[in-house]
Assembly symmetry: C2
């Protein structure tokens, strides 16, 4: 895309504007309500030159919409909390729920504009950012989100004129920031960077619309018209919302990974007590080291019911300082979570720099329980393998250590533990009818687990199968695995 080819002389005369604008506003409002009824989430991004009129345009747009249906988010430079997490974190937190609209005044594109030009990030980082941004938008649009992106374009001359007029008035002078002036001086550099961005992030599902914004009225009309056209199309294309699909065909024979696991391995109590002390002491040291070096650590626990996840996690954290770690138990999603992309609730909980987060169950529910119990469609769980790989790659790119455990026991051992739980008073709460029902589907789950491990073991986020018939052995193995992974990073 070439900004030089944009005709900035385009104008809408006042009488013409008055004639059409209220009609467009009513239309936009009506479509917003329809999108709400159909449960379609909508994202509208406003990027553009300083003084291009983003504020004015957003205000105009808001006036056409029902304020009960949208939120406006202003994106400034990342604050400390945000800076300590992957750069998309704060945007994931703000993706709209089903039927809601999120309007972004600046957005994740800061990363490939300001952060890039001001050299706040390396070349590798902004190149990765392109991939991550495209993944992000594609994941959302795959689940039915409509994404509309506006770039408000004005000429260097027009920008100069506007800055001058803003600076002339003391009540608006503050709007022209130091960065705005810098941008103006380096207008030509920015042109190249913007064209690069437009080219690399105009997906079919989330294309850019460059808005000729030398004339405010022309821009307002174009924005409303684009919104109306995009929403109309999305509404007519979709009979059922949130079920759009990226064609997914999985290939490859799944190796029977769990058959190869030797569950007879075990450990004597004496050796265990000794190793436990050493491991806990080492983990305590490492907790401090990662804190100092600002390394985030993410640990995922998955496993059969009664495989001993809870007890394993307890030993892992026993020697740690609670200020440095968090255990996130994952149950069925609540209704707010259900109204968002399924990765949304996990994004909220990604560890920040220097901290450890342990997930007791995780996003892998999508390709296990949700797959087998039919809580999601086939398209959705098939798509999830790729989404999860992308998600974990983003975390690893952010410098995160990612460790994933599958706690493996055999069917007999599970039965023994279930029965034991039923007879020991303080353990009966741990066993439910659902556990027995899941047990009947052992074979289905086994195949799903093997496919999961096969498809989502990556260099940066490998699975470790933990032989857990002997709990003592399993505890030491997980601790040693975490220790090795963190040491390797350090």
């Amino acid at each position: 895309m070439n900004l030089a080819g944009i005709d900035l002389a385009r104008k809408t005369e006042k009488h013409e504007y008055k004639k059409i604008i209220s009609k467009l506003e009513l239309k936009a409002g009506a479509l917003q309500r329809k999108a709400r009824e159909k449960g379609i989430p909508v994202i509208i991004v406003f990027e553009g030159w300083g003084a291009a009129g983003k504020g004015t345009q957003i205000n105009n747009l808001m006036l056409a919409l029902d304020p009960r249906g949208f939120n406006v988010y202003l994106t400034k430079a990342a604050n400390e909390e945000e800076y300590m997490r992957p750069f998309l974190w704060r945007f994931w937190l703000r993706v709209p729920a089903a039927g809601r609209m999120a309007i972004f005044d600046r957005s994740w594109y800061r990363r490939v504009l300001n952060d890039r030009v001001e050299k706040l990030i390396s070349k590798r980082e902004y190149q990765e950012a392109y991939i991550e941004i495209n993944d992000f938008e594609r994941q959302l649009s795959d689940e039915g989100t409509v994404i509309i992106k506006f770039f408000l374009h004005i000429s260097k001359k027009e920008q100069k004129k506007r800055f001058k007029s803003l600076l002339a008035n003391p009540s608006t002078a503050w709007k022209v920031s130091k960065n705005d002036r810098k941008q103006h001086r380096h207008y030509a550099t920015y042109v190249g960077v913007i064209e690069d961005m437009l080219k690399k992030t105009s997906l079919a599902t989330a294309p850019w619309t460059v808005v000729e914004a030398n004339d405010n009225r022309f821009a307002s009309v174009k924005i409303l018209e684009t919104l109306i056209a995009t929403l109309s199309k999305a509404l007519s294309a979709r009979t059922r919302p949130r079920r759009s699909a990226t064609a997914t065909s999985l290939s490859g024979k799944i190796p029977p990974l769990l058959d190869k696991t030797d569950l007879s391995v075990s450990m004597e109590r004496e050796e265990y007590e000794d190793s436990l002390k050493k491991c806990q002491a080492r983990l305590h040291e490492l907790e401090h080291e990662i804190y100092v070096k600002r390394i985030p650590v993410l640990i995922v626990y998955e496993g059969w019911d009664a495989a001993g996840k809870g007890g394993n996690i307890r030993r892992l954290v026993q020697g740690l300082d609670p200020r440095g770690y968090e255990v996130v138990p994952v149950a069925a999603p609540n209704d707010v979570e259900k109204a968002h992309h399924y990765l949304w609730r996990f994004w909220q909980k990604v560890p920040k720099a220097g901290h450890i987060t342990i997930f007791d169950r995780s996003w892998y529910g999508r390709v296990m329980v949700e797959r087998i119990e039919g809580f999601c469609t086939e398209t959705e769980w098939k798509r999830a393998f790729g989404e999860i790989r992308e998600f974990e790659r983003e975390l690893a790119d952010n410098g995160m250590v990612v460790v994933k455990f599958w706690l493996d026991i055999d069917k007999d051992e599970q039965l023994r533990r279930f029965k034991q739980r039923q007879t020991i008073a303080y353990k009966t709460w741990k066993i439910t009818d659902e556990d027995w029902r899941n047990r009947e589907k052992w074979g289905l789950y086994k195949r799903a687990v093997e496919e999961m491990i096969y498809r989502t073991s990556t260099k940066d986020a490998p699975w470790t199968i933990v032989e857990a018939n002997c709990k003592l052995y399993a505890r030491i193995k997980t601790m040693e695995t975490v220790i090795r992974a963190v040491e390797k990073k350090l």
Copy 2:
């Protein structure tokens, strides 16, 4: 409470400890599960001297609990986002949902400890903090939250010993902060401040437990025993959770405020257009001024169905910069919101310093629709008047401008507008069966509104009744009221 009277020589021997600790842990775990089943939220606060062992004790406690049922929050000095809001804001965001447990490693008591001693706040501010803290805890316990507060006490000598040992080891030396050393030097000053805190915030429903922590084992046992005793009592006392009551008896004859409103006032379009321009320009200036002076502004819109709230709000914000304000539409609470104190969702949205938040409906739903439709108990809505006054006083104490509008129309005017909505194509979505049902209860609502205005009009957060039969008049009156309120503050 006198710290000198605490016997810090108390100890639990190792063999004794081993004998009782696992029993206590099992008991605590069982009670946690019961509290979850009954939907009782639990707050556990850990305060104490530096190196008193808060981390260790929290870790021990966590090991007794099901990690799926609690969150641990570490409270440091407020970050920028937090600093720009009332000091309880960040704690309101973290109050546990029904059946959940929140463990605070330091808490809102920083305000009357560190902030006070380090003179980060004025005397008036920490004195107000005591009132606000007591209100906060009472409001939560009134809705059924169990609050357990531990102060971990060690002697100056013991603290010295522990600091020395921490400093001797490079992997723990970082734990002794500059503030810790300062606290140690001013141990005696802190004693007075702590005693003041213990005395002023030991409510019957949320008493302090001072824990003799020179001996870690003794402390662990006392903490678990206190937790067990408190939870047992709470569980047996309560047949139905979340319905505990502070005895509320309201008195006073409610004046028929709405009868006195002269709804015949009106404004011609010409005068309106002229005033509108002037008001919007002035609001735009003020938006900038409050931004510079860091003043938060909160505006509440309540009113009859079809009173014109939406159109009124649109004119109010039309000239504003969207980065400076937010409109928060309030509908029925979702299930996450329902699982919290009813003020919880509103606390999330209080404006930050320098910003304007406009609530389209608000917490007053409690004493209107929830009261009349029976969505809450009589005890609850009666208690709400006081809670709301406290809430708004906290906001005003924080320097916030609070403006509240009741848009008043008469029954005939409402009927006219309902009918109009049914006939104009782009307005039909605005009228629902519920609107007609509410209309039938006009008399009940009228009395509730009059009581609401009578009981919650305060100096710092007054109601303005806006005569809204003429929309033009109403729009100008609300804008002028906001302008005056902000100007007064400036």
